[in-house]
């Protein structure tokens, strides 16, 4: 009997421990509705989100939030399929909104927004674009990422360059001036690395300052007929050939991981780099003495200077979530409350995602970060195309660019024509139309 009692006590203790563990990062009140929130953040950023969730919970004791981090799209899709999706879900991949809205995996928020007086005018146009698809508003933006140019002021001074480049001609000249080679011709320091696949380099981030678009008025891919694409790709290949393709690949192979203190820009191996606003926080934490500046990416057309690529985290409610109204109340608060957005933005140094929050006095002033707030607010800034085929659309473009930079594509014009056909076929296939 004594053994049974001991075993029962142990089991009770274990159950209590499990209960405590699963509720980590939340405060429970008796009788409160339990809301599970899935987010992609981890470590420091996850702690910041949990702090925000705790603040919401304190003001709304009728709900108990269980925040789960390190979630990716595979887990989200699997949970929705299995009917075990959480109440609130978020994804880093805004370009998958076409999949979530198109399939009904995330519910249309339009009626909930209307009922709560939330209008799309509260958000910048680009974020409205990447949170809808096919007439359905199935997500809202939760902070955003804006991309610009980071430049090393020490290396600029050493090379006799006064300020960041604003045109492509200046970018090319500065990049060459800032490049240092070893005696055998290999690269010791690179001005700017335009290699697709290096760190944050993907076509959609590079093409914006060149004014390139993806589709025509009939929503057919038109990369072959939009001159911006061939101009950018030609410039990019010329730069890579100037460095030497093999030299550049070998140089990159010796660089540190992007999200580590050995990041090539942070350690001065790359003098200029295309990167997101979050790098400001990384540099502050890892290399606080680095003398650097931030600016918009140099543009092919002066009217485009100041704009940049934007995307960000999206948040929504999966179709089989259990507490839709309570979930919406939290989604509404976390995506539209100026104080919440400012606080979270300060914590993880992402761009706050409503028009009002970008002007919030709570945003801690920072000259480096201010550049990205301006890029975010620029009406000519843009994002990835949102299509039914999701991320595979931009992946196909990236795949083409990697073949092009390696010299595998001999005729750019015909290559881009084939790419257009592939992109259209892919979209049709994703919509279930089969062969075009």
């Amino acid at each position: 009997m004594k053994r049974v009692a001991t075993a029962a006590t142990l089991i009770a203790l274990m159950l209590a421990a499990v209960g405590t563990a699963s509720g980590a990062g939340t405060h429970r009140s008796a009788g409160a509705t339990k809301l599970t929130v899935w987010v992609g953040w981890s470590a420091r950023e996850l702690s910041a989100f949990r702090k925000l969730a705790a603040e919401y919970q304190k003001a709304n004791p009728s709900v108990a939030l269980n925040v789960v981090g390190s979630i990716n799209d595979d887990k989200i899709v699997a949970a929705i399929r299995a009917g075990t999706a959480p109440d609130v879900v978020s994804s880093f991949n805004s370009y998958d909104v076409g999949v979530y809205c198109g399939t009904g995996g995330w519910i249309d928020l339009s009626s909930l927004m209307k009922g709560s007086g939330i209008t799309t005018s509260m958000f910048p146009a680009t974020t409205n674009y990447y949170t809808q698809y096919g007439g359905k508003k199935c997500a809202l933006p939760l902070l955003a990422d804006a991309y610009g140019l980071y430049y090393n002021k020490t290396l600029f001074k050493k090379a006799g360059i006064a300020g960041p480049p604003k045109t492509i001609a200046e970018l090319t000249a500065d990049a060459k001036k800032l490049t240092v080679r070893n005696s055998d011709g290999s690269l010791k320091q690179v001005g700017i690395d335009p290699f697709i696949g290096f760190y944050e380099n993907v076509p959609e981030r590079w093409i914006l300052p060149w004014g390139g678009t993806y589709t025509d008025s009939k929503n057919q891919a038109h990369l072959a007929t939009d001159p911006a694409w061939s101009k950018w790709l030609t410039w990019q290949k010329q730069m890579i050939d100037w460095y030497g393709y093999k030299n550049l690949v070998k140089f990159q192979a010796g660089l540190g991981d992007e999200f580590s203190a050995s990041n090539a820009f942070e350690v001065g191996k790359v003098a200029m780099n295309l990167d997101g606003e979050w790098r400001v926080a990384f540099i502050k934490a890892e290399h606080p003495t680095l003398d650097y500046g931030t600016a918009p990416m140099p543009a092919a057309n002066p009217s485009l200077y100041g704009s940049g690529y934007i995307n960000g985290t999206i948040i929504g409610i999966p179709k089989n979530g259990k507490h839709t109204q309570q979930a919406w109340d939290f989604v509404k608060w976390v995506t539209t409350n100026t104080h919440a957005l400012a606080e979270f933005s300060n914590a993880i140094k992402n761009v706050p995602s409503t028009v009002a929050s970008t002007h919030s006095k709570e945003i801690v002033p920072d000259a480096h970060f201010a550049t990205f707030l301006k890029i975010f607010a620029n009406p000519k800034s843009g994002t990835s195309p949102i299509e039914a085929s999701g991320v595979s659309y931009t992946n196909a473009v990236q795949n083409f660019a990697t073949k092009w930079q390696a010299g595998s594509i001999k005729n750019l014009a015909s290559g881009l024509s084939s790419l257009d056909k592939q992109l259209d076929a892919q979209v049709k296939q994703a919509k279930g139309g089969g062969v075009p």
């Binding site: 899709v77 999949v99 290096f198």
Partner: protein, 317 residues
């Protein structure tokens, strides 16, 4: 009449017992092979994005696979290259090592352990190790080559060298096949070698007319297994591409950016299947790809087995 009934009852009891004893396997086979196969065949004829209900599209997925998707033939070519190069080299090296170990007189245990040890390394760890060793900028292989005045290749970063690098990794981990060959070689009766020697057969003739015919069933096994594994080649290609492209740390994007890196040179058929199924969420289309892979595996295996009747000597014949 009564005896016939009794015999039938006994036969039925036997059948029930056999069924009972076979039931664990039957359940496993049905749940883990039969059902997925049937569902895969059904889904291959549907548009299925995992989130909404499957919608019948007939043969559209197969038409897209064979006539539109430009990556299909790249993946098929890469897979055929791998099978054509890796499988013969794996069989030859495993067989060669087994012959040497069978002849060794001293240190047999040590050599067996050394050659078998790589097979114990998990594929992910082994691939990570190879990518590190063959890093063109910081890896020890290119450092040694540069001391010898040789400008080493870019290995996993070069479209021309990525597949050969994976082949090196495959040969390095050939221990399992080697052990099977070693057991087969040691099992060849010594009397056969002695008879051949008395007939004047030299070492090469003994290998050709005694060893190879005696172990031909094992050769067949290694060839069939190698081809099937080649058709399903995934883990090493997935890990090598992710790490070599520098995208492995970006958990959210690793699958979307680096598959097939560099320049689709490691885009094998199963990698493309994974991409369509679990990155693009087109499970209907991925199922069509899986059915095609299943059909090819079946036909290739059948062809090897039928062809093997000419060169495989089994004890029964």
């Amino acid at each position: 009449m009564e005896r016939r009934r009794a015999r039938r009852r006994a036969a039925w009891r036997r059948r029930r017992l056999v069924l009972l004893l076979m039931s664990p396997w039957l359940v496993g086979f049905s749940v883990f092979f039969g059902y997925p196969l049937v569902m895969s065949a059904y889904l291959s004829l549907n548009h299925y994005d995992l989130l909404s209900s499957p919608r019948w599209v007939g043969l559209a997925n197969y038409r897209y696979l064979f006539t539109v998707d430009p990556q299909t033939w790249t993946a098929v070519k890469n897979t055929l290259w791998l099978i054509g190069v890796l499988v013969p080299l794996q069989v030859l090296s495993a067989f060669g090592l087994a012959l040497m170990l069978a002849r060794a007189r001293t240190g047999v245990g040590i050599f067996r352990t050394i050659f078998y040890l790589p097979a114990l390394a998990p594929p992910v760890a082994a691939t990570l190790g190879f990518v590190f060793i063959l890093n063109p900028a910081t890896g020890p292989v290119n450092t040694i080559l540069s001391h010898l005045g040789i400008n080493g290749p870019l290995w996993f970063q070069d479209p021309s060298w990525a597949k050969p690098s994976l082949v090196m990794l495959g040969i390095w981990g050939v221990g399992n096949t080697m052990i099977i060959f070693l057991a087969a070689v040691l099992d060849v009766p010594r009397t056969l070698y002695e008879s051949a020697q008395l007939d004047g057969a030299g070492p090469l003739q003994r290998l050709r007319y005694v060893t190879i015919p005696s172990i031909s069933p094992v050769l067949l096994f290694a060839a069939v297994l190698g081809v099937i594994q080649g058709l399903q080649y995934f883990t090493q290609a997935y890990v090598a591409a992710g790490v070599a492209s520098g995208q492995a740390s970006q958990a959210a994007d690793v699958t979307s950016v680096s598959l097939g890196y560099p320049v689709d040179s490691t885009l094998f058929y199963p990698v493309l299947l994974y991409q369509h199924g679990f990155v693009d969420f087109q499970m209907g289309y991925a199922s069509a790809m899986a059915m095609f892979l299943f059909a090819v595996s079946f036909v290739v295996t059948l062809a090897i087995v039928i062809n093997s009747r000419r060169w495989v000597h089994s004890g029964a014949r």
